[in-house]
Symmetry: C2
Subunit: 455 residues, 2 copies
């Protein structure tokens, strides 16, 4: 009997081979081609995940984990067929340990669902990649987003894991304690492994007390270099920014077209301050003092909850707003992250390069971390244009590596960034391959992702 | 030619086979028996480290990295002979990137040396395990200490590494960017691997701005449960404590005997607050309001730099002060870490158990992290007493695991904690072994450490 028959017998209607379900799981929000699996499994327990993986291990069927399908480098695409393991039914919040500032969740819980469940506790889960992604997917891709500058990424906020390994065994990593020196750090090895080393079936996440006061604001600068140099000085001054997001001229135009706003088409910073009321006021004042040196103008406070929500909803819609700049195409998002001292150089270089290459590119950036995205419009069916956009992306990656940075701050490797793995990691890549070979010798877990083919 | 001859030819007098040098490198501050290597190598460059490891790989000679010899679980002991790789000559601070809040150091730089070099920058490296350990050793053992509650452990403060692997190849992990989603997180895999996966030859460390104001204080409580319950509420209230250390009645007696102080023999908390002057005052006030609910008394501010230094010097001498309680023996330090909600239960249980078993045990604890140490006096030559103390330690480990914690918060596994690895990690232990086997198939890197023998 094949793996597929075994799994069908076990799951009944929760294994779907229908074309529309398979297509839906083979689709990407980014520019990647449709890559439907042979079937989609909807397990409800870690034990079912383990049984599915065991069946797949028996005959080498690929298993690709699927959360909400919002990954931007094709991580969830079943490019070699096999099973798409849809974890959306494993969506229970198993425990909220308010006293220990953590929560235990199944991988299919989304970040907004968790925060709804936390509403009565005075705690929240801060990591916010924009999309309402599943927490399992966020851990698997080492996601971050607008609040990482203050609260860290998934790297800092996943404390412990349960995972199903390539032979179907179930392991636990980490503990409920805040720190440990016991053995190899398998939690961090699994976080960011994009489903290639194990399937995450339970996560213990760090929670944070809701800030007493929150203040948001927008402001603009004469040039993008002014805005970024302001950010650099703010971070170096240790003002504990909760959010500090760059929006360049072109992105402002996209927002205006998409949301009907009429922001001046100048580089903006979108800001948020968290803390005690006096501390928030002090932070904002300290920020404005530094910003004044860089020609800040048009300061707009977003004081009400509604104004703040509208502000961040606009920011989160950047991916779609970019579409308004050149309708009828897809958006390819670059994702380099550089040492903050080199950020102005990298951003200006990216703008100049897009202009030189005649590309429609809008920049948003988690600039407090040195991370920024160019959303570049492209028609994936136009091979010449696609090549040009990939060349642009590649040149940004080279710049990031030259400046001591990384080719991906938060979107991950997936399919699109494999070609830079050797350049970024050098001899270390071989040691990554050795882990993959030791843990998944038959290469059934998300095959063809992250690690480039050996030449 | 043997590895030893090769290395002697390469290093000349920097390979020492002298009995006194070998004995010095085979000695532990803890209760472990002398375990001298066959020779001590003093490399000066990563390339020399690589050449030494290559030579050892050729004939299976063990290589055990050595920093300052202050590890507490025998990590640095060459229990199977071979080479002790003393990294103390690799002691250069290679770069201080103040704008990016990081420094690049060789592994032999000690934490106080780094902080001396940083004096003019307004930045500091906060991780403080007490001993003036080498930064390479601190990373290898995932060290933490009194300031981890605020600034994190080595896990949070090592950004990138250079390491020599078991075949002598040199790799780099991480980048100078603050975050990345590019590939497996080898940095975190090497941090805490106790020299069993690679030899750390360069570290990029996160720096933090020196706080504008620092205030320290001591206070006492009627019972240890009162003190710990106060800590729990303080942490849950998100007061950003820089240090919050428990000192139990017995430890106070040790300090009084060792330092000539006359603190009342009651449970104490030693505190430090960092921030802007107003914030520090607010934090201290918020702390005292909570502490009042738990019967706090004897508040003593340590306002001057000298008073603060004296306070933390006393705390850092806990290992030696414990000796004053029962001279002529060694101290075995336990190191469990539990979820903070269970901390009072764990500490009270540890005190009761020591009393019941008739052991001299003094407690100090980084209680903001849920981590505490019982310093138990023992004569290692008295087999019955040693067995009793190890039984005590084992029962604390069981308690920690029952409460969802870890058998070692910061001292690591080394020799002494291997017996708990299976209980703490369960099936995950096999996956740790698989990494070790893949990366160091001949088992030359610190053999006999961390991973227990397979039964």
């Amino acid at each position: 009997m094949s793996a597929m028959d075994d799994i069908a017998a076990m799951l009944g209607p929760r294994l779907s081979r229908g074309a529309s379900v398979c297509e839906q799981h083979g689709r990407s929000e980014a520019h990647y081609a449709l890559a439907p699996p042979d079937a989609v499994a909807f397990p409800e327990t870690p034990e079912e995940v383990a049984a599915i993986v065991r069946a797949c291990a028996a005959d080498g069927t690929p298993v690709t984990a699927y959360g909400t399908g919002t990954s931007l480098e094709g991580q969830h695409l079943a490019i070699r067929g096999g099973i798409s393991l849809d974890l959306s039914r494993m969506d229970r919040v198993l425990a909220v340990n308010a006293e220990d500032l953590n929560a235990v969740v199944q991988p299919g819980v989304t970040r907004t669902r968790l925060n709804e469940e936390l509403r009565a506790t005075g705690l929240f889960f801060p990591v916010d990649p924009g999309a309402d992604a599943s927490l399992g997917g966020m851990a698997a891709t080492r996601a971050s987003g607008t609040t990482a500058v203050r609260y860290g990424t998934m790297r800092e906020n996943v404390l412990a894991l349960q995972a199903v390994m390539a032979d179907g065994s179930i392991i636990r990593t980490g503990s409920q304690a805040r720190k440990s020196s016991a053995g190899y750090d398998l939690t961090h090895l699994l976080v960011g492994s994009e489903g290639t080393l194990g399937i995450l079936t339970e996560l213990t996440l760090r929670l944070h007390p809701l800030p007493e006061a929150v203040a948001a604001a927008t402001c603009r600068f004469p040039t993008v270099a002014d805005a970024v140099n302001c950010v650099i000085l703010v971070i170096q001054s240790a003002i504990p920014m909760a959010r500090i997001e760059l929006v360049d001229e072109m992105m402002v135009r996209g927002f205006n077209l998409h949301s009907g706003t009429d922001l001046p088409e100048k580089p903006h910073l979108f800001l948020e301050f968290h803390g005690a009321p006096t501390a928030v006021a002090e932070q904002a004042a300290a920020f404005r003092e530094i910003a004044a040196e860089f020609g800040v103008a048009g300061w707009q406070d977003a004081t009400t909850t509604e104004a703040r929500s509208a502000l961040w909803a606009m920011r989160h819609n950047a991916h779609y707003a970019t579409g308004a700049l050149e309708p009828g195409k897809r958006t390819l998002a670059t994702d380099v992250c550089v040492p903050i001292s080199t950020l102005a150089e990298a951003v200006v270089e990216a703008q100049d390069l897009a202009r030189t290459m005649g590309l429609t590119s809008a920049i948003v950036g988690h600039v407090g971390d040195g991370n920024f995205h160019c959303g570049v419009r492209v028609n994936p069916e136009d091979a010449a244009e696609m090549a040009r956009v990939l060349d642009f992306s590649g040149r940004l990656a080279e710049t990031a590596l030259r400046l001591g940075g990384t080719v991906t701050g938060e979107h991950g490797i997936g399919l699109g960034k494999q070609k830079y793995m050797a350049a970024e990691h050098g001899p270390a890549l071989a040691w990554m391959r050795a882990i993959k070979a030791a843990w998944d010798p038959a290469n059934i877990l998300n095959p063809g992702k992250m690690l480039p083919p050996e030449s």
